[in-house]
């Protein structure tokens, strides 16, 4: 089963991150990298990315067949998607266990969601 682990940031978590020294931040990145490496070696890794700052997001609108990208303003959201891990593991409990290892879990900023499987299997 595939699960998407979504890592959010909020004003508190962002403020805490900003207080970190460059060395502490480097340690933080290394911690995420170590989780990725572990997931690769356990055969559960599908994909993982960290997202650039939300201020760089573009809103895309399609009008008359052409797509137009514009900067915000976006609705004021306190919680912003900061990155994700897509894992393929045996149980939801295992996905939750992985998710619990991210520091953001202390702020309640991690969400685990099952991925729809697109196979047409049994009869309905």
């Amino acid at each position: 089963m595939k699960y998407l682990i979504q890592i959010y940031s909020n004003p508190e978590s962002r403020a805490m991150w900003d207080t970190f020294t460059p060395e502490q931040q480097a340690e933080g990145y290394a911690y995420y990298q170590a989780i990725s490496d572990e997931l690769v070696s356990s055969g559960e890794y599908v994909a993982a990315e960290a997202l650039a700052d939300a201020s760089l997001a573009k809103r895309v609108t399609q009008t008359d067949g052409s797509a137009v990208a514009s900067d915000g303003p976006f609705a004021e959201t306190k919680e912003l998607l900061a990155g994700f891990y897509l894992v393929d593991c045996e149980t939801e409990a295992r996905a939750v266990e992985i998710a619990g290892r991210f520091p953001e879990a202390e702020f309640g900023l991690i969400e685990v969601r099952p991925v729809l499987d697109m196979a047409a299997r049994g009869d309905v």
């Binding site: 089963m1 595939k2 690769v40 070696s41 356990s42 055969g43 559960e44 890794y45 599908v46 994909a47 393929d88 593991c89 045996e90 099952p114 991925v115 729809l116 499987d117 697109m118 196979a119 047409a120 299997r121 049994g122 009869d123 309905v124």
Partner: protein
């Protein structure tokens, strides 16, 4: 797939397990032999479509894989020599391959120390003769992930120190049971609805049937369950073409065009299940196959022998109870005694908190169908919507949501 490629692929996959068994018998080291065989398979898949399939595909694979294996041992030996360690380059003597080698290989791949995803990946590669890339594409995960599952699996097998042998008689049946569930999982992985990438992907249902057939040939099958499993796969896969429409949407059983069902598969499945029910103790796969056979032999849901299906579910509920069996039985009961009886049975089952029934999307889907049949359109629409919300399957979600929508508009 062109004919030359198709012939080459069929030949190499058929020869792969026995060639690997020869290699493991010769050199003893499953881990390294399996790697060498994978390289030989990749070489074969490049060479055979171009130059033709060799007279003895197995001998070709054994020869090329042996060369790869020896090269690998030599380079390891050279490395160790540099580290001034004594090395024995001589391969161990070659015992005569036993007839049950294919079975031993199957069982090794489903070793109880392995996780299910690892069992699936290793079985597809070592017994199925698929490449890591093909397995990854079929399971929609990165190639590195599959490679890692396989290497972990082999490391665990090595650590378990089991070696390449048949399990003891007292553990054989439980090992076979684990193997059959892995094959059934591979089978259910195969029913992809997305047509875009179908050509690039191995048909895992067809592979599962091929492997189960191979197991069936290699296994005396005292329990009758391997035969039951093969029959179940054939009788289920026979309906595959009719199960989805051109747009990939699910067509329910009662609306399927039964002329699109595969007669040859049905005939083979029916023959297998009838023969095994006569000779072996009854088992869960045989019963599920028998249920599938009753469906496959009927002209429509209206003329289906639901009483027979109900009886089979009663047996199954005693032999291998599960929430899905409870639901299947309730559907059959409703077809025999009417939707109200089905709904009452569903209420009772939920009240008993029948392990895992409550809140399961399929429970909601069954309730929705029964409510629809009993004329409670509004309630049925809500139940379909609830089922759609809970399912983890895309095509099923589309089907359930469209049922909810249609009933909502017809009620409105």
């Amino acid at each position: 797939m062109s004919d030359a490629v198709g012939d080459a692929v069929r030949a190499l996959r058929a020869a792969a397990p026995s060639a690997l068994a020869v290699l493991v018998r010769r050199y003893g080291d499953f881990e390294a032999c399996e790697d060498a065989m994978q390289e030989a398979l990749i070489a074969a898949s490049a060479q055979w479509p171009r130059d033709g399939v060799p007279d003895s595909p197995r001998a070709w694979l054994v020869q090329v894989a042996s060369r790869r294996y020896i090269d690998q041992v030599r380079s390891d030996a050279a490395r160790r020599r540099r580290e001034s360690l004594a090395v024995d380059l001589e391969p161990p003597p070659t015992p005569v391959p036993a007839v049950d080698d294919t079975l031993a290989l199957f069982l090794l791949c489903c070793h109880p120390a392995l996780t299910t995803p690892s069992q699936i990946a290793l079985t597809l590669r070592a017994v199925g003769g698929l490449t890591t890339a093909e397995i990854a594409r079929s399971l929609l995960v990165p190639e590195a992930t599959i490679a890692q599952r396989i290497s972990r699996a082999k490391a665990r097998i090595k650590a378990s120190d089991e070696g390449f042998r048949m399990p003891r008689a007292d553990e054989l049946e439980s090992r076979l049971g684990a193997l059959r569930s892995v094959l059934y999982l591979v089978f259910t992985e195969g029913h992809t609805a997305s047509s875009g990438d179908r050509l690039a992907r191995v048909d895992l249902s067809a592979e599962a049937i091929r492997l189960t057939r191979q197991l069936h040939d290699a296994d005396p099958d005292a329990s009758g369950e391997t035969t039951g499993l093969l029959a179940l796969m054939l009788l289920t896969d026979a309906r595959r073409a009719a199960r989805t429409d051109d747009a990939g949407a699910i067509v329910p059983l009662d609306e399927q065009d039964r002329s699109g069902w595969d007669r040859a598969m049905i005939d083979e499945g029916v023959a297998l299940v009838s023969a095994v029910l006569d000779r072996a103790p009854i088992g869960p796969y045989q019963l599920q196959a028998a249920i599938a056979a009753v469906h496959d032999e009927a002209d429509s849901t209206a003329t289906t022998d639901w009483l027979e299906i109900l009886g089979l579910y009663d047996l199954l509920a005693r032999l291998a109870p599960s929430p899905m069996v409870t639901l299947g039985r309730i559907v059959a009961l409703a077809m025999v005694q009417g939707p109200e009886a089905g709904l009452a049975a569903l209420d009772r089952a939920e009240a008993q908190r029948d392990g895992g029934l409550t809140d399961h999307h399929r429970t909601w889907a069954v309730r929705a169908h029964l409510l629809e049949q009993s004329g409670s359109t509004d309630a049925a629409s809500l139940a379909f919507a609830e089922a759609a919300r809970r399912t983890l399957n895309g095509p099923e979600q589309r089907y359930l949501a469209s049922k909810a929508e249609r009933l909502r508009s017809s009620a409105g």
